[in-house]
């Protein structure tokens, strides 16, 4: 009876301790709190942005082309008279969707391969390692270009290409994290009590390796957003009238040398802010999950 109540209370106490720790990290480092607010803002823009913007992001207006920022058009208008502010806000969803899907695929596939390699060693480890080395042997952005060029110029292929170039980071990390725990006491205990290998891997070792992987995910998100925007900047993936940050900067680039700076500046700033947020958040998460490596 007493053990039951102890079991029932401990998760709740754990959650409370986590929340207290979260509050401590937030108040201790104002940058992390700031990053967290920015993160909520970006996610909010992605979720409800399309219903909040003042103009239709695709509506052209021949009467007001290339207007500088004003109270009517906060970020000005582009060469077709479209409202840049509305386009920047609406683009958040697509950019975030590409990055989240790519990182999710890379995380699931990469950590599974890495965990198997780290747990069994031997041939599994050698083959996975060799494949990851081959991916890393390419300059990663160039490999993504090659994949999209070969597989076809679509948004899905941008996601797959970004996922593939992120795979090695997760696979290597999972491999190391699993390998150091392969013969830990709790693993031997689980084995002695009759658990199958896959069960030990999935329910004992993997959850323990998760915290450092979460940090990697956050740092990776920023990089994934940059890569996807870079690909669409050179004309891959997203087709023009669709609002997307990379392609908006590319279109605005043609107007920079005539002094129409707002076309490229605002989508570029949005991109920067998103990447910056995920990088800061990654540092904050590291403080949260790994107090020893605090800087």
């Amino acid at each position: 009876m007493t053990t039951l109540t102890a079991d029932g209370a401990s998760p709740l106490a754990g959650v409370r301790r986590f929340l207290r720790h979260l509050l401590y990290v937030m108040t201790d480092n104002p940058m992390t709190a700031f990053a967290f607010m920015l993160f909520l803002l970006i996610v909010g823009a992605a979720l409800v942005g399309p219903w909040l913007v003042p103009y239709d992001p695709l509506a052209t207006n021949a009467g007001s082309t290339l207007q500088p920022p004003s109270w009517q058009h906060w970020f000005g208008t582009d060469q077709l008279g479209r409202d840049v502010f509305s386009r920047v806000v609406v683009a958040t969803r697509l950019d975030l969707m590409i990055a989240v899907s790519a990182v999710a695929i890379a995380f699931v596939v990469g950590s599974t391969l890495g965990a198997i390699a780290g747990f069994y060693g031997g041939w599994a480890e050698r083959i996975t390692g060799r494949c990851m080395d081959t991916i890393m042997a390419f300059p990663l952005f160039v490999l993504a270009m090659g994949i999209v060029a070969a597989a076809g110029n679509t948004v899905e292929n941008i996601i797959y290409a970004t996922a593939i170039i992120n795979l090695p980071f997760y696979a290597r990390m999972a491999r190391t994290e699993v390998a150091v725990r392969r013969n830990a006491g709790f693993v031997q205990a689980a084995r002695l009590s009759g658990n199958a290998d896959w069960r030990i891997l999935a329910f004992q070792i993997f959850p323990n390796s998760l915290p450092p992987m979460m940090v990697q995910i956050s740092l990776n998100m920023g990089w994934a957003i940059l890569n996807a925007a870079g690909l669409s900047f050179i004309g891959l993936g997203v087709i023009p009238p669709t609002p997307e940050w990379g392609i908006m900067v590319a279109e605005g680039a043609n107007y920079i040398i005539s002094g129409h700076w707002w076309l490229a500046l605002f989508p570029g700033l949005a991109l920067m802010l998103a990447v910056f947020t995920f990088n800061l958040l990654g540092d904050g998460l590291r403080d949260l999950v790994d107090p020893q490596r605090r800087t």
Binding site: P139, F141, G152, G222, F233, I234, A253, G268, M272, N279
Partner: protein, 342 residues
Amino acid sequence: MTHLARSRLVGWRLLQAIPVIVGIIIVSFLLTRALPGDPAAYFAGPAADAASIEQIRVSMGLDRPLPVQFVAYVQDLVRGDLGISISTGQPVMHELTTRLPASLELTGVALLFSIAIAMPLGILAATRPNSWVDHLCRAVVTAGVSLPTFFTGLALIYVFYYLLGWSPSPMGRLDFLHLSPPKVTGFYVIDALLARDLETARAALAQLLLPAITLGLFTLAPIARMTRAAMLQILEGEFIRTARAAGLPRRQVLFTYALRNAILPVITTLGMVFSFALGANVLVEKVFSWPGIGSYAVEALVVSDYAAVQGFVLTMALLFVTLNLIIDVIYTLVDPRLGLEE
């Protein structure tokens, strides 16, 4: 003894590159052949009819089994044949070799620029923790990893070309007032200097400056961060404390003892920096209309010129492997610990 040991290490490292190169060739073969869709239709271009697609299928050997195709592909590579670019009608190999010096010049100058800024910054930040230099270093590192290269390039163009007028128009390696210098190395600045044409050298350098700074700013962050971290760790070492206690001059402790050891992890991160730099190079070349292999690949992508794109990917990968090899050889040569292992 150490001489022999070092050359054996270098030889071993060269051997290790072979499986990597084999992997690269397999991947680039798969990228051209085994993907969904009809490669013959890809290579024939969008305007081709059924008969010419069939002709290309036979001439490329696409009707034969995959392993046979792979052998033929490797044979073509050995002969330096990367196929014909459908947009220009020229062999891809020829286009890439004529454009490669432009890319190398840009990337090389950018890396020199970023090493020249990042290493002193990192050393200063490590020797004076929590000073303004340290904070500056941290700010540069955080901003550096968040900035999209193409955006930095456009911002620099707007400020230095449009607003201030200090920089020439961001269009290629030389403006139309100057003739390109006689080709010796393919690097315009060096070639112009060799031809004793100071005016052209100055013009080429002016064109090079903004794109090189753009690319350099991108690679600044990882080098500065690694230098700072490595120096901090080394400076805590016991041999540094001993050197200080023995009353050696501060300069000698810092540069002879600390830096020689701290440089090793920095050299290792250069590999990752090259990966980023070669990728970012494509974006910078597009922004500044720089006639290197990156902008060639972007133009080829727009018109679906697949032979050109795959040739570009393969060239970049081989370039990257070569750079990594050079880094590793340098590492073996400068590692002070290797000399002591007798």
